[in-house]
Symmetry: C2
Subunit: 416 residues, 2 copies
């Protein structure tokens, strides 16, 4: 198997050389051909998906996961539409970001190029298969996908349909490769393929991501975990605070940009906290607070030290009362995961201070953390949300899948 996954790596590397040479029109033609193929083969995709659903039901997998695994005509149409949207985006490859002439006459330019081979390790949602392919193909990269065992029949079917689409468009079918063995071992092997894979993007739960960060020799872009805070400052508009907190916590509970923790200035707490608690309780959210919060409002359960660092992804939120913006920022910088943080304030200096000093991918003033998303930011697509500082930070669009190279035009220059 070690040998097989290396073979896969080598095939991807070879394909990446071909993909890098494709022009924008060829790549768009490929994306549209694949979209067409997905739609026309939906009966086959549903049939294969049914095998995964049946196996999951037999294993007693919980209903919410089965829902994520399920393909429908609509979801297949959405995958195809996603590819068409990516085709419509501007191609970042080939752009010369800057070009200067040096005193010795050398013209030195910096050109955007593909990364080469991207590896994506993900869990049960089969739509990621088509989405990841689309973004990688548009940026001239080959992609090796390693999905979860629960979705293996769906993923095999989607990949074979994508390959058929590429074949019809006379484009390299190895632009997409799937690791067919979904045993744990293949994740480990894929993480060591730095000879062939240029970047590894894990998409899934905190356990998967930690495993990849700890063990990969391939450069990793860490995505996803979001212990996001909202700080209600002393001067906050309380109506706005209540609406934003409701939205950030309850609009979708299980996502990384949902709010998991409130920090409230003592001067605002007396007026704001009862209303916040009331609104959240109307959505059955459990509130865990420090002693001061619990003194102010009944029905708040005690928060432990562990709560401050927990991404619940569920109907739970923690509340801490502070005496200053400095205390709020220190708390947030200690416990956050570098995802999205928001301050609700009318104070100009506090707004700027919060944006300056909070260390996170996205720092908001007077808005919901739920906007941290490639589509909401106007990128048109998203391969994930980076919570690390190297290469890409925050929602990653097409540019995150590119590198640069220096191109130098000389006329015989040698170094003195």
């Amino acid at each position: 198997m070690e040998k097989d996954i290396r073979t896969l790596g080598r095939r991807a590397k070879d394909a990446s050389r071909l993909c890098a040479k494709l022009g924008t029109e060829e790549k768009n033609r490929g994306l549209l051909a694949v979209a067409e193929e997905l739609c026309s083969r939906s009966a086959y995709l549903l049939e294969e998906n049914e095998k995964d659903l049946k196996a999951a039901e037999e294993k007693g997998v919980k209903q919410s996961l089965i829902d994520r695994l399920r393909l429908t005509e609509q979801r297949i149409a959405d995958m195809a539409e996603g590819l068409r949207q990516v085709a419509a985006l501007e191609d970042p490859i080939g752009e010369v970001l800057s070009m200067k002439t040096r005193p010795n006459g050398l013209r030195i330019g910096k050109r955007r190029v593909p990364l080469g081979v991207a590896g994506i390790i993900y869990e049960s949602r089969p739509n990621v298969t088509a989405d990841a392919f689309g973004l990688c193909f548009k940026t001239g990269n080959a992609v090796i996908l390693r999905g979860g065992s629960d979705a293996i029949h769906s993923n095999l079917a989607i990949v074979s349909v994508i390959k058929d689409g590429l074949k019809k468009a006379e484009l390299p079918q190895d632009a997409i490769l799937l690791v067919e063995d979904t045993s744990r071992k293949t994740v480990g092997e894929m993480m060591k393929l730095h000879e062939f894979i240029d970047v590894l993007i894990p998409r899934g739960g905190a356990g998967l991501i930690a495993n990849v960060v700890e063990n990969s020799t391939v450069p990793v872009i860490e995505t996803g975990t979001g212990n996001c805070h909202i700080f209600v400052d002393a001067s906050a508009d309380i109506n706005m605070a209540v609406d934003i907190i409701e939205n950030a916590k309850t609009q979708r509970m299980g996502v990384c940009n949902a709010c998991e923790s409130l920090v409230i200035h003592a001067e605002a707490a007396k007026a704001a906290l009862p209303r916040i608690v009331e609104r959240l309780k109307s959505h059955q959210v459990e509130i865990r607070g420090d002693e001061r919060a619990r003194e102010l409002v009944p029905g708040i359960v005690p928060a432990s030290e562990e709560d401050w660092g927990t991404e619940y992804l569920d109907a739970v939120i923690s509340v801490k009362i502070v005496d200053s913006i400095d205390e709020a920022i220190a708390h947030i910088n200690r416990y956050n995961t570098g995802h999205s943080e928001s301050i609700i304030t009318k104070d100009y200096d506090h707004a700027l201070k919060f944006q300056d000093e909070v260390d996170a991918a996205a720092v908001y003033v007077n808005a919901s953390t739920r906007f941290t998303d490639g589509f909401e930011f106007g990128f048109g697509a998203e391969i994930g949300i980076s919570t690390q500082k190297l290469h890409a930070r925050g929602p990653m669009g097409l540019e995150a899948l590119t590198s640069t190279k220096y191109i130098i035009f000389g006329s015989g220059q040698i170094r003195e």
Copy 2:
């Protein structure tokens, strides 16, 4: 020790929060104060350096390494001058790279911010200590340095003098921290400090770099190894080719952007190879070639498969004869290390094809590979040359030590 290095990590993280808040004037004031302190304390630095030199001589370290280890009044003045030059560079921190207003009124900007804590693992040259500090401090980062045991007295002295300079300027002394234990173990421990260190940059030989790439859980920027090629195309100006090859191979043999391998088109070889060999032999360079090269010119020794992949860093070069530019590009993409590659040609299409298809940080037409360098590229300084594709590629100036964050100005927006 594990505990101690974690303490160091935490101190660096705390210091990085303070450094990130410093304005450009404060940072420049610090750099100038440190430059001043280095100059005025040169007697102390030379005294401590003498201990390292003596120990190295007793250990029988070879003269070239002792030369790299040696500090002189001039080298100390150069370190100080380097810091003054960094002070004069534009501060990249705080620049808003783009800002857009979304349809919902959210103003989303992307701002350049420090990375946080940089870790540098390096070998014997003590000037790296001051250079790395300067670049990290200018970009608002704290830095943890782990130098080699051969230079420990010099590094301790330089770091203490830098801290004294920072103290006089009333700036955070923990902006620079040195791992004082130079046992092998501390390299391993430092590589696991992803909780505190945001990027690790190894500077040294291939063994050190491979060790860090294979074992670090901190994101790494791979630097340095350069198996650089020059391709002499059929249409090359032979005089130009000979001059460029001489320069790229012999101007400085032990550096990463020196040429290690020639690829020559068969149509050019008959006229070009004898002259290239003659010129290189005048510099006592050993030439290792394939059979066709050896048939053309006497005095070429046989090249083995291993030679194609070897970065000699010495007076040796390999030569391969090819029948087409495609064969040349395939050979280069198979054996290069992604550093610097050059084509000598008069053919317009071949020049563009080579730049398009060769996969390396810097791809030259009609120029020496020796120009791949932060100063030669006009960056004013360099922290190393990245041979990976993520985050930074090629010579890294101040920008490579920065990240970005999204700053979002709202007025109560919630997600629908």
